[in-house]
C-alpha cells in the first residue's frame, strides 16, 4: 500500500499554481492545492481542483478520429496522419501558409510544444502559433 | 424540531442581513381551510408592509 501526494504544476493557465496529486496505490484519487507554493498560496480555481478528473476520465480518446460524412469515426494512426498531412498541404497550396494557425497546450511537454512551433514556422511557414496558457 | 430549525434559519437570515420576519411558521389543520386563508392573507399584508425583497433590488442593480 502506498499513498503519496505528488507536487506538480497545474497544466492549465500561465499562473502555474502548485498542486498536489493524491495517488493511492498508483491511482489518481484527488487534488489538493499546495499550501507552500508561492504562486497560489494554498488556493486553486475550479480547473485546478478538478485536474484529477480529466486524467482518469473515460471520455479521453484512445484512438485517432477522422470526420467522415459529418461524423467522427475511429481510424488508424496511418490513416489519420495521411489525411491531416494531405489536407494541410492542400490548404497551404491553395490559400497560403498564413491561412493555417496552430494552438498548443500546457498539457503537452515543452519538447512537444517546441516541435509544434517548429513545424508551424518551418514546415508550414507561418507565425500563427499560440498556446492555451495565453487564454 | 421544525420550530427549532425555523429559529435557526431566522437567526441565520438576520446575521446575513435579511429580515427574519420574512419567514414564518404556522400550524394549520388541513381541515381548517378558512384559517389557512386567513394566515396567508395576513402574511401577504405583513410582507407588503416590509417592502420588496432586498435581494431583488440588488440583482436589478
Amino acid at each position: 500500500m502506498e499513498f503519496k501526494n505528488i507536487l506538480t504544476t497545474c497544466p492549465y493557465c500561465g499562473c502555474g499554481c502548485g498542486l498536489l496529486l493524491e495517488v493511492l496505490d498508483g491511482k489518481l484519487v484527488g487534488t489538493l492545492p499546495s499550501k507552500t507554493s508561492r504562486a497560489n498560496e494554498g488556493k486553486l480555481c475550479i480547473k485546478g481542483w478538478t485536474v484529477h478528473e480529466f486524467v482518469t476520465s473515460s471520455k479521453r480518446l484512445t484512438q485517432p478520429m477522422v470526420r467522415k460524412n459529418g461524423t467522427l469515426e475511429e481510424a488508424s494512426w496511418d490513416e489519420a496522419l495521411s489525411i491531416a498531412a494531405g489536407r494541410l498541404a492542400e490548404i497551404k497550396e491553395k490559400y497560403g501558409p498564413d491561412s493555417i494557425a496552430m494552438l498548443s497546450s500546457a498539457k503537452c511537454t515543452n519538447e512537444e510544444n517546441y516541435l509544434l512551433q517548429k513545424f508551424c514556422r518551418a514546415a508550414i511557414g507561418t507565425n500563427n502559433i499560440d498556446h492555451c496558457a495565453r487564454l | 424540531m421544525a420550530q427549532k430549525r425555523m429559529t435557526f434559519l431566522q437567526k441565520l437570515m438576520s446575521f446575513s442581513g435579511i429580515d427574519p420576519d420574512r419567514l414564518r411558521l404556522r400550524w394549520v389543520s388541513s381541515a381548517d381551510a378558512s384559517a389557512f386563508v386567513d394566515e396567508i392573507s395576513q402574511f401577504t399584508e405583513d410582507l407588503k408592509k416590509m417592502g420588496p425583497n432586498p435581494l431583488k433590488a440588488k440583482e436589478a442593480a
Binding site: M1, F3, L7, K35 | T7, L12, F15, G17
Partner: protein, 264 residues
C-alpha cells in the same frame, strides 16, 4: 517540537498496531500529506509549520476517509490538532470512519495560531505533544453582529460578490463527504454565472455546515477571494448551540440534530 510525536509513531509502527501514519512530509521546502509506513520514513516528518505555525495544514481526515474506504480492515494513525479531533468525533458519528480503526496523534496549537483561528479549543484530548492552549474570543462574529440589518446585507452581498465558484471551500473541507452536493444541484443553485447566485450559494453552504463544521479554517484559507467564510460558519455554530444545545465535535455519544431523521 516533533520528537515526542516521532517516538510515539515509531512505536505504533514497530508494534504493528498501525498500517501507516497519515501525517505531513517536508520535501525540498514544501509540505504535503504523506502516509508513513516505516519508521525510517519519519525523518521527513513535518507538523505543518512552514513560515508561521500551522500555515501548511491539510484536510488529513478527508484523506483518511479515502484510505479507510479502500482498506477498511486496517488501522491508521492520523495527525490531529484540536479541530481535526473534533472532525474525527463527528466523522465517527456520521459513519465515515470507524473509531476502532483510527489512532489520533494529537498536537496542540501555539497561542499565535489559536488566536488567528479564534479557536474554541486549540488542542485535542488525545494530546501527544504541544501546549494546551487557551480558548480565544471571536471578534469577527461580534463585528458583524454589531452592524444593523441593512449594513449586514450589504456586507455579505459584497463579500459573496467576489466568489468565483471554485468550490475550494467545499473541496478542502474535511467534513464534506456527500456524494451528491447540493451546491451542484441545478434546481437549488443556478449554473453558468459568476458570482454564483448571491447569496443562495453561500447561505446554502452555511446551512449545510450546521452541526458539521469543526472550525478548522481550511475553507477560508482555500478561498482565492478572501471571503470571510469562517465568520459565517462560526455564527452558524453559535446559533446551533443556542437553538439545539449542540456543539460540533465535542461528544462521541450525541449526534448532531441534523444527523437525525425524524426529529429529536
Amino acid at each position: 517540537m516533533s520528537t515526542t510525536v516521532k517516538v510515539y509513531v515509531e512505536q505504533l509502527l514497530d508494534e504493528g498496531k498501525i498500517k501507516g501514519f497519515l501525517g505531513l512530509r517536508e520535501e525540498n521546502g514544501h509540505i504535503m500529506p504523506h502516509l508513513f509506513c516505516s519508521p525510517e520514513d519519519l525523518v521527513h516528518m513535518s507538523l505543518g509549520d512552514n513560515t508561521r505555525p500551522g500555515d501548511a495544514r491539510y484536510p488529513l481526515n478527508q484523506l483518511l476517509i479515502t484510505l479507510a474506504a479502500k482498506y477498511p480492515d486496517d488501522t491508521f494513525a492520523v495527525l490531529v490538532r484540536g479541530c481535526d479531533e473534533r472532525g474525527l468525533k463527528e466523522l465517527f458519528k456520521w459513519e465515515q470512519l470507524r473509531e476502532e480503526k483510527v489512532i489520533p496523534v494529537g498536537i496542540g496549537c501555539p497561542d499565535e495560531l489559536a488566536k488567528a483561528c479564534e479557536c474554541e479549543k486549540p488542542f485535542p484530548d488525545a494530546l501527544i505533544e504541544g501546549p494546551q492552549g487557551q480558548k480565544a474570543d471571536s471578534e469577527n462574529v461580534a463585528h458583524v453582529d454589531g452592524m444593523d440589518l441593512d449594513t449586514r446585507l450589504e456586507f455579505w452581498l459584497g463579500e459573496f460578490d467576489r466568489c468565483i465558484k471554485c468550490f475550494g471551500c467545499r473541496n478542502v473541507c474535511p467534513m464534506c463527504f456527500c456524494n451528491e452536493c447540493a451546491l451542484q444541484e441545478e434546481s437549488l443553485v443556478g449554473t453558468g454565472k459568476i458570482p454564483p447566485d448571491n447569496p443562495t450559494f453561500h447561505l446554502t453552504r452555511a446551512v449545510h455546515m450546521a452541526g458539521r463544521c469543526i472550525d478548522c479554517g481550511l475553507c477560508e484559507e482555500a478561498c482565492p477571494a478572501d471571503i470571510p467564510l469562517r465568520t459565517l460558519y462560526k455564527k452558524v455554530a453559535d446559533i446551533v448551540h443556542e437553538a439545539f444545545g449542540y456543539r460540533t465535535g465535542y461528544e462521541l455519544d450525541k449526534k448532531s440534530p441534523f444527523n437525525i431523521i425524524g426529529g429529536l
